[in-house]
Symmetry: C2
């Protein structure tokens, strides 16, 4: 997925600071969702922990990143598809959470639709498979 951090920031009326660009680059670089603790480690004292929190929050609100929780409730982030907006996130693909390496993959599979019971109004469905990923399965 090729992205241009500066453009993305402009499109969302965000100032492009060194830190914001770095965060986007780092997340775009990885084909899997990356966890917040991992990001903290990567940035060390290049980016303050608090700043990272704030950047990730803004990105999620604006629909630039989407957040996927792994089994432990840890936040993982991946770049949203271009059709995501602040209002609606279209990350309706199946996720795969490896129980060995903990990585979360965004699979190229659309979440199967499910008929809700009378009275329940679903506007999104999250689907995450747990198991062993390609890299760990050797």
């Amino acid at each position: 997925m090729k992205i241009n951090p500066v453009n993305i920031l402009k499109e969302h009326d965000l100032k492009h600071t060194k830190q914001r660009v770095r965060v986007l680059e780092e997340i775009a670089m990885d084909d899997t969702a990356i966890s917040q603790p991992e990001l903290e480690k990567k940035f060390g004292n290049e980016i303050d922990r608090v700043t990272l929190y704030r950047i990730l929050n803004v990105y999620e609100e604006k629909g630039i990143l989407h957040r996927v929780l792994d089994r432990n409730g840890t936040a993982n982030y991946a770049i949203c598809s271009p059709s995501c907006t602040a209002e609606v996130h279209h990350d309706e693909h199946v996720h795969f959470n490896c129980t060995i390496c903990q990585k979360i993959y965004c699979l190229n599979i659309v979440v199967p639709s499910v008929k809700m019971p009378e009275g329940y109004l679903a506007n999104s469905i999250n689907s995450t498979a747990y198991g062993i990923c390609k890299s760990c399965n050797k």
Copy 2:
């Protein structure tokens, strides 16, 4: 869902203490999954916060409760179906997380199976729909 806390504890070789029985009763009482913070509130100083953590952990490990994370990563607990064991959890039904009241419902709908890509081995799939529940939809 009718349950007998004392029996459940016996079946899993757990001492039946006042606190453990209360936790099971409370969770069984509710038709929705109940969040840990809510449980803490309900028990006040009847059960220590730390004890609650430990009880919930044991119950999950033993396959007595299953844990569902809501959108914020907060743990919610519901009684497992009788076929759950410490080894395998069979909570393969769709969950519904209301974005208004935050409640998590265990729907009586089986999670649709998804064909994994080459090399990926899934052994369970979690499926959670987000939207407005029957009670809030009025």
